[in-house]
Structure formats: C-alpha cells, structure tokens
Symmetry: C2
Subunit: 665 residues, 2 copies
C-alpha cells in the first residue's frame, strides 16, 4: 500500500465520459476552472494552511491559529497581487471560518449598499486595506428572524449632534455576530432610531468598538465571545460575539444614510433611493449560499463515493474479496440522489447568478416588477438547498459506516460547520412561509392583469395543469423532460391551489395562514423543487461539449427528479398528478439509472476537482489509500503521546488495586 499507487484506478478507467470536459462544465468555464485549480493548489501546497490538526486543538490554541492563518492569507494576497476573484477563492480554499469572512462579505457590502457616497469614501479605503476590521451586529440575544423586534436603541441627541447607542435590556445584547467577540475594531450596529421620543424603526450605524492603539474595548462597550459551538474545529475558529452598549456616543454621520437620513435638526428624511435595493442585496447573498450548498454537498458526496468504492463488505465468494459497498443498491439509493443534487444545485446556483444580474439591471432602470418573484425564488432556493445539504452531509457520514464518525473522515467537521447555514440569512422555515405567501398571492391575482412571471410563469397555465394527466406507460417514459416537468408542475400547482382553497375558508386570513402554515411550507417546497428540476433540464438544452458529458448530466437530472418524486410520492398521488402504477414505473427507472451511473460515479466526483487538502478526509483522498491513512491519523491524537495515559496513577491503578478508600477523586 501507499507510495503513489492509485487504488481507484480501475474505477477511473470505467468512466464513460470525458472527465476534463466535465470539470469545465462543473466549474462554469475553463477560466474559472483554471483560476480555481491554481489557487486551490497554492493553498494545498503551503504547510502554513495545514488544517488536519484542528480537532485536537483546545479553543484558545485553535483560535490563535486561525488569527495566524487569516493574517498570513492576507499577506499572501498582497504579496502575490491577487485580484478580488482570486483572493476570495483563496479564502474559500483555506476553509476555516474567520473574522475576515464577515469583514469582506458583510461589513464592506453594508457600507457599499447602505452608505452615502461620502461615507463610502471615508470608510471603504480603510476597510479595503484592513486598517479597520468590521463585523455585522444585527441579531440580539432575544431576537433573530424578526429584525423589527430588535431592542438596541440609537437616540439622537440634538445638543451634541450625536447618536447614543444603548442596550436597554439583557435580551438586547448583540449576540452571534462573527468576528465580534475578539477581533473587530468596528461594527455595523442595527438599532431602533429614536428622535425626540419617536421610534423610526431599525437602521444601521457604524460604531467603533475597540481602540486602534491597544485593542481594548472603548468606554461603554462590553464585548466578548459567546462560547463553544457545535463540533470540533468547525465554527469554533470564529469569535462569534456578545456586545452591550452603555450609552455609547457616535457622531451623526455614522448612521448609514443612503436610504434614510437624520438632519442636523433631528428631522427624519427618506431619500429617493428605493428601499427595494435591500432585497437586491438579499438576492445576491442568498445566491452565494446556494452556490455554497452545492460546494459543501459535493465535498461530502465525493468522500462518501470514493470510500464506498474502497470499502468492501459481505458477498465474498470462495474466499475472494468482498463486494464493494458502492455496488449495493441500498447504498446507491442513498448516495446517488445526493450526487445528483450536488449537480442540480450547481446549475440552479449558476442560474441564480444570472437572475441577480438581471434584477440589478432592472432595478437600476427603475423596473421593480420582477423583484418580488426573484426575492421569493432565491429565499425558497436558499431554504431547500441548504436543508438538503445539511441532511445530505450527515447521510454521507452514515454512508461511511463507523469510520465516518472519526474526525479524520472530515465529515463531522463539514457537517458542524455547515448546519448554521439553515438558520442564518433567514431561517429555512420562515423563508418557505414567505415563498408560500408569494405563491398564494400569485394565485389570487390570476384573474387580474398581473401575469405571473419568472419561475411562477407556469401558474399562468393553471387551468391546463389542473386537468393534467401524466401519459407515462413504461419506465423509460420517465426519461422525457416534458413528462417530468408536467408531473412536477401539476403537483406544485395543485398543492398551491389546494392550500389556497383551504385558506379561503377562514374569515381571518392571517389566522388561516397560521393554522395552515405546515401545509403552506409543503406547497412552497414543491414549487422550489420544480424550479431546480426545470433549471437542470434547461441546462441540458445548452450545447455541452465533451464525450459523454451530456449523457451523464441527463442521467443525473433524471435521478434528481425521480428520486424526489419517489420521496414525495404522497404529494404526486394525492394531487392525482400521477397514478400509483406510474409511481412504480418511476421507481423502476430510477433503479436502472443507478446501474447506469454506477461505473461513472468516481469520475463524476473527480469532476468536482477537489484537492485532498480541501476535502480534508482520509476516507475521501484521491488515491483511495484509506486504511494506512486512518492508522497514521490515529497516531497523532494527544492521547497517544504516552503509552500509559495521564491519570493512570491517580485513577486506574487505585481502582484495579482496590485502593479507593483514600484516593483523591
């Protein structure tokens, strides 16, 4: 074993398509593939970015190490003169949550999006050079999803032309912001604007937290870390923080004033900049989360697929080797839908990227007509893709059997670092309720002149969809894109109509919405799954070069749709979108697709082009040399520093020797 042998070579030889061409399709373009590969290798080959020791480090050591890496990464970015795309990729491949994430992804964009020209000119150069480090202080100990419920106050003092930032209660303490606890010098603080006793709602303020001389908190500011979070390593590299204000004063010009202003006289004024811009930003942030979902899921799937090809169990004949675990249909039925989902999320993420550009151009031209649909669509896709990814990573861990439970498999940390995505930037259930609200509204306006747009356009054909009957007669019929789309459209439309009809029975609509909220979420999920299915199918209308590449993507697209159909069979049957027999045929087709994809499985995860460093998994390493690596990793545990463990003399020996009476325990 070892020594450069590729234990997965025979698997790679089975592939029926051009892996290099698939890499380009996955990356989006050869340019992106090349840049990603160059930066990924740069990180992987630099021992300063080593991350395999994270699970063994105590909190302080872990955090200090992250400070070192983040600063070193910035140094390298400057030395190598990396552009924004490259710098961002470098941070991705370093793969360690750090204060810099919030600085670049939240603090800087908040100033860009909500600051005036003047404010941008003052603050952005400092932030761009990291002469100040910023975070984003919105959520509070007692307040998360409901931003309008925040308690922190910013009271205008006309005498001094200042705002007084204050935490009136314990529950108003800022709680969770990443980078806040130990590092950030500044924060965008969201607080209720109070002028002359009147509450003008929540606004953003730039507040300096720490001295730039000695890093001590400024007077009136109490700040600290909120403690350990789920998992080893994972998000414990981040200083999520708590922050309290005791009447902290900031100059009036540190309120972010692009949309709303407070004048010297204490007058509250709205600018002519449309408030809807905020939604444009949300579309952007959530689109990056969808792209991230596909990336995280692809890592888990890559690990589980490679290990499933290495691992053997049962089925030995005449003393020969046992069967590869990946050849079991139970393994395939759990693994391959996740493989297909990783690809599906990739392409819906690509499309969302286009949607964001489209919405931005329209906003700039004063066209707000597509914004509500685009906003609902991104909210729903953020919810569906991150939920599936979180569960999918854990499923991949289980697919690796016992060894998936070891930190060296990489999966525990991937899971623990991923799951907060289901909660932040919109709780996944709250988001689906927003989608449902939009869908119900769309249905109610069908008679009017407002035609449904974008991903809700199919609801314009409602009459037809309510009449729809699937014409599937044999298993292969399920390979036809129109057959799949028909069933998914009928199911989504009928779910939405059914819940809308039930809603109309309530005299108080809000009461109905609350009572039926679980059904509303189901309808919203059905709609979002249709979007992903249809965008994958649209992708396949493109000209896709490379031997066999398109065929593989077609198989994956079918697996994605049919495995969803099987999982949500109750929806399809209860709405009469398909018959039980057609459901059985879909399942039959699915089994045959699993057999088709099987020889290509390893090549399909190779196409993600993950380095061993980025995967961080001895089960998922490229060469499949699993067992010696597991052994090697085990040796590194601090418990193995000595043969006889610390504590033997004090505890084990007295126990064995029956000398407990006077033992100090």
């Amino acid at each position: 074993m070892g020594g450069g042998v590729d234990h997965l070579e025979s698997e790679r030889n089975k592939a029926e398509f051009d892996v290099d061409a698939m890499k380009i399709v996955w990356a989006g373009s050869s340019h992106v593939l090349q840049v990603s590969e160059r930066i990924a290798r740069l990180v992987a080959s630099d021992p300063a970015f080593r991350k395999d020791n994270r699970p063994n480090l105590g909190r302080k050591e872990l955090f200090k190490n992250t400070l070192r890496k983040a600063t070193y990464a910035w140094k390298r970015i400057i030395e190598l003169g990396l552009n924004e795309e490259e710098a961002s990729l470098l941070r991705t491949f370093v793969d360690e949550p750090a204060f810099t994430d919030l600085h670049w992804a939240m603090f800087v964009p908040a100033i860009k999006g909500q600051g005036t020209e003047e404010q941008q000119q003052k603050w952005l150069p400092l932030a761009h050079k990291m002469q100040i480090i910023g975070c984003y202080a919105q959520t509070e100990l007692g307040h998360g999803s409901n931003v309008q419920g925040l308690e922190t106050t910013a009271t205008f003092d006309p005498k001094t032309d200042e705002f007084v930032i204050h935490s009136p209660t314990l529950t108003s303490s800022k709680w969770w912001p990443g980078g806040l606890g130990k590092v950030s010098t500044h924060a965008i603080v969201y607080a209720r604007l109070i002028i002359d006793g009147q509450d003008y709602g929540v606004n953003g303020f730039i507040v300096q937290l720490r001295s730039l001389d000695d890093h001590l908190p400024l007077p009136g500011i109490t700040v600290g870390d909120i403690g350990m979070k789920f998992g080893n390593g994972a998000y414990n590299t981040m200083d999520n923080g708590v922050l309290r204000f005791d009447n902290v004063r900031i100059p009036r010009d540190q309120m972010l004033m692009r949309v709303s202003q407070v004048t010297r006289e204490g007058k509250f004024v709205q600018s002519n900049v449309p408030r809807q811009l905020v939604y444009g930003t949300m579309v952007f942030v959530r689109q990056t989360i969808v792209a991230g979902a596909s990336d995280a899921l692809s890592r888990a799937v890559c690990i589980a697929t490679r290990y499933s090809a290495v691992r053997r169990q049962f089925g030995s004949r005449n003393g020969g080797p046992e069967t590869q675990v990946i050849d079991y249909k139970t393994q395939q039925a759990r693994l391959f839908p996740l493989l297909a989902s990783a690809y599906a999320f990739r392409y819906v993420g690509e499309w969302l990227n286009w949607l964001y550009t489209d919405v931005t151009q329209r906003l700039q031209a004063g066209d707000f007509s597509t914004l509500p649909e685009a906003h609902a669509c991104t909210a729903g896709l953020k919810s569906v893709t991150t939920s599936v990814t979180a569960d999918g990573i854990e499923e991949c861990r289980k697919l690796c059997g016992g060894h998936g439970y070891l930190c060296s498999s990489g999966l525990p940390e991937l899971f623990a670092a991923y799951v907060p995505t289901c909660t932040y930037e919109g709780d996944n259930i709250v988001l689906q309720l927003q989608v449902a609200r939009h869908l119900v509204k769309t249905i109610s306006q069908l008679g009017s002149r407002k035609k449904p747009v974008g991903t809700t356009a199919y609801l314009g054909r409602l009459e037809q969809l309510l009449q729809y009957r699937s014409d599937v007669q044999k298993a292969e019929d399920w390979l036809k894109p129109n057959v799949v789309l028909g069933a998914f459209e009928a199911r989504a439309a009928r779910k939405i109509v059914a819940v809308a009809q039930n809603l109309s029975k309530f005299s108080n609509p809000e009461e109905g919405f609350q009572e039926l909220s679980a059904d509303l979420v189901e309808a919203a999920v059905a709609h979002c799954q249709l979007i992903i299915v249809s965008k994958f199918i649209e992708k396949l209308q493109e000209d896709i070069p490379g031997k066999g590449v398109k065929q593989q993507l077609e198989s994956l697209s079918s697996i994605y749709a049919l495995s969803l159909l099987h999982k949500h069979l109750g929806d399809f049957l209860s709405t009469g979108s398909i018959t039980p027999q057609q459901g059985d045929l879909a399942n039959e087709q699915l089994r045959s697709l699993y057999s088709q994809i099987r020889p290509n499985a390893i090549a399909l995860v190779d196409a993600f082009n993950h380095t061993d460093h980025y995967l961080g998994s001895v089960l998922g390493s490229y060469d499949g040399n699993v067992y010696p690596k597991l052994y090697e990793e085990a040796r590194k545990d601090p418990l193995n520093d000595s043969v006889v463990p610390d504590g033997y003399q004090e505890y084990i020996r007295p126990l064995l020797k029956q000398q407990l009476r006077n033992a100090r325990l």
Copy 2:
C-alpha cells in the same frame, strides 16, 4: 430574572392532567420512578459529576477527567452499597461515555453468556470487583458488519497447548472497541480459530492486554487510541482503540468454550448448548438500545419544548410581547410528532423487555419457535427507533434556532454522542434487510403449516388485508384505534407482498434481493412502524390511573400514527390502503390534535423527570430562565480569560498597522 422564579409556571398551570401520575407511567412503576429520582439527584447534587465544562476541555484533560469520574462513581457505588439496578442508573445519570460501559455491558455479559462454568468462576469475580477491566474487541479496521469476514487468527499450537493470536494484515487491526485504547487490561478478542491449517470460523478469546503491575502493553501487543470523534465532549471521553497482535500466546482455556470447544488434542467439538443463545443476547442488547432511544429523544424534546415556550418571535401587537414560538403550527408540526415518538418508543421498549423475558423462558424450555420473529422484530425496532432519534435530536436543535448551535444548549453533544447508535450493534440498513428477509420468508410460508407468530401474526390475515378498504369519512374517524391499525396493517402487508412478487420475477433470488434491496428496506420499515403503532395502542388498553393521563396518551398515540401516515403518504396511497381524501382528513385531524396537546406540552416533558444536570442545557432548564444562563455560560469560554486575545500582538496588530512584511506567520 433569576432568583428562583419559575418562568414556565403559567405553562405548567395549563396542564389538563396529573403530571405526577404521568411520571409513574413514563418510568414504568413507582418503584423505578423513586429509585431513578433518588439516583439522579445524587449525581446532580455532587459537584464531582459536573459536566458543563466538557466542550472546553482538550482531549487529554477531557479523558483524564473521565477517568476520575468513572473511578469516583465506582467508589460511590461501593460506599453507598448500591445494588445492580442503582449502580447502572448512576452510570446512566453521570452521562459520560467511559470504559466502564463496555466492561459492564459487553465484557462481563460475554463471559457470562459464552464462558463455561469454570471460566465464569475464574473470571467473573475479578471483573465484578474491577480487579481487571475488560473490553470487547470484535470489529477490525477493514471489517464491521460482516463478522464472518474478520481476519485476526487464533491458531492452536498443540505442542504448548496454546492459541497464537495474530494480526496478519493492517486491515485486521482491531479498531473501535471502547475502553481498549488506554484503559482495559483484558479483552474478549474475536478471531478465526485455526487448527491444523483448517479454519473453524470466528470464536471469542479472553486475552490480557496490559500488565497489572505497570499498565504497559504485554509483549507482542500494540495498542492505542484511534483519535478524535464527532463533537465536543461526546464520545471523546471514551478511548476507542486500535489493537494489533504479533503472535501473542494465550493458554487454551482462554477460548470461550460454552458453545464450541477445542480439546487438548486439538479436536474441535460443539457442545449441546444451542447456538441460538447468541440471538437471545442480541435481543437483550437491542432492547436496551430501544429504551435508550426513547431516553435520548425525550431529552432533546424536553429542551426544544421548554425553549419553544420561552422564546418569542414575531406577532407582537401594539408593542406587547411577541408570540411564543411553540404557538406556531410549523413548530408544532415538527416538535409534537417527536414528543409523541419519545412516548411511543418508551412503550415499545417496555414491550420488548417483556419479549426478551418470554424468549429467554422459551429458550430454556427448548422452544426456538418464536426466536426468528423476536430477533427480526428487535433488529427492526433498533433500526427504526435509533434512526428517528438521531434525526430527531438534530431537528430539535434546529427548532431551537441559532442558540441550539451553542454547546451550552446541550443538543450538539447529545447528537454527537447519540449518532453512533445507528451504526453499532448492527448497521440500521443491514438490520432492515434482515427484517425484510424474514418478512418475505413469512409470506412465502403462508400456505404451509407454519403460521406467522408475534408481530407478524397479522400477515396470517393476508387475504383480508389485501381486500381492506378504509371506511374513514370524517377527520375524527382517524381517532379510532382500529381505523389506524387497519390502514397500517394494509400498508405493511401490501408493501411486503408487492416486493415479494417483484422478487419472484428473478431467476436468481439473491440477485433479486440485491436489486430490490431499497424496496425491501421500505417494506421492513412499514412493518416496524406498524409494530410501534400497535404496541402504543395496546398500552392504552391497560388501566392507566391519574386524572387525564390516559387522554393525553391517546392524543400522543394518534399524533404518532397520523404524523407517520402523513410522512409516508405515498405508501398508503400507492398501496390503496387509504384514499387521497382520507389522507387529507388525517392531516386535518393532526392539526386539531396539535392544538389539543399544546397546553399540555410543558407538563408532558416535565413527566420525563429529567434533572437540569442530566439535560445539561441552558435552553431546557426547568425554570426556563434561559437568557441569563446563556450569558453566564458564554463567560466561561477560555477565550474570555482575557479581554485582548492571545495572538493580538503577533497577528491582529501587524495586520491593522500594515506591518506584515516581516511578520512571522
């Protein structure tokens, strides 16, 4: 806040039933309730058993602390003269995986079950006094579920009357056994018995690993820890180990010889003790796992329910308090089915306990007729209850929003410590395939004189079940036990028949079994869910004292069944067990049951009688005083030892001051 105020008092006052009576029903008897409560308080009130600091400890410190606690627990057991029941409860409430778990739950029972009278007389007294500490060394680096694939050899040497234990390959290294890495002095080692070149299959051997004088590994033995596992604290308190043998010799009488013997002459002999006894032991172990599932799920549900009553979000009217999260139907639709599952698993666990006694009595009387059914039934229930519990704990964590991600919520550690249960003592998918095999066999024998017994008895009414049509006409019809049973029986029977028919189309039955394995698992799950539903209903036929107690259990039983029906609607519809309209009515009834259970929710989790120490969660503490406790816990993080973090001078300052060129990073 704080100071003994019960923040959940108004919730407790809403309860419509006698909580103390429910505590007895949950515990199983007033005796068990009293003993549990006494021992739980003993542990909770002793600062030596503190566990809230676990997430902050590095591996060595954590492990040493566990050694101290385990030894101290043993000292207390002796000092207080606790009996076996009390000692076992004490270890449960200490709630920290340790080498003692394996010693008592695997090593001692293995000698009892597989050792001869002589072997028991020699080894058990030593083990009972803990003069030796033992573990259970079965799985290997390359071999888990398939015990027959183990590679370790035990070769009989007739010259010296010894066995030579040897690890011939890297993959034959023992890997995973708890207590092995650093503590155990002895192990039951499973190895292939080789006599005169012939392989007699896998047998158990008692092997001493470490010197009783200085704890050093004996010659030829290499042993160590396998490294960090999922989560903070969690199973990292356990020294799961790796073990290799280089021709280690043990006397012949250290093979466990109750069932098979090797004579002085090297002859392999089978005793008249039935091999089936092994299955009896499996029934026992898996029954305790089912009981454990209900316990773990009840802890998660208790935390999520209490916090959902404290947490408020949205819905504030006229500046009043926001709505309690538990009042949202989306929260109820996720939380209450898990609450119902905790109760359902409790009673199916109780029933399994009876089943084990029944099987044991029959085995002793030479009656093996019910063993296959009992074995399949416990395997299936282990699989279903542990899978639901693992996913359920994570769902409860998500139901606690952002704060569920903090270690101080207790949920991350509960999850990480629980998930291996899905893999050990039988991988959950492998187990369901065993159940499916048994069901298909049962169906195939229906024409013969072998009548289906126990939980498969309903298959004896197959003709009738294939004709079954549910007569539900209004939502309340779903409250009738027979209506629920009818639908679940029809669904399970038809799923089994359908897959059996598909199997019969294959000329090679094993090939068919492999091809259809995912469908077989679904059929097995349907069967197991029926068992749990029916045992809950049977429980309700008993006389259950206490005001309102039975009514609450009836609601929970209905919620359990109807939420399953909703989740697996596709099964019920595709088999024609119910109509889509009847499915809608079930959903309608479910919503109304959620409203009925809502005022009782807090009291229903109080009935679990968990101490704050055992829960280990600031979100789930009895008095609901969540926010000050979160604050207090955060302060304890090592990062908060200093205001300016370690690493500021080396990394943050040079970054802010643009002095990176010569920084040592």
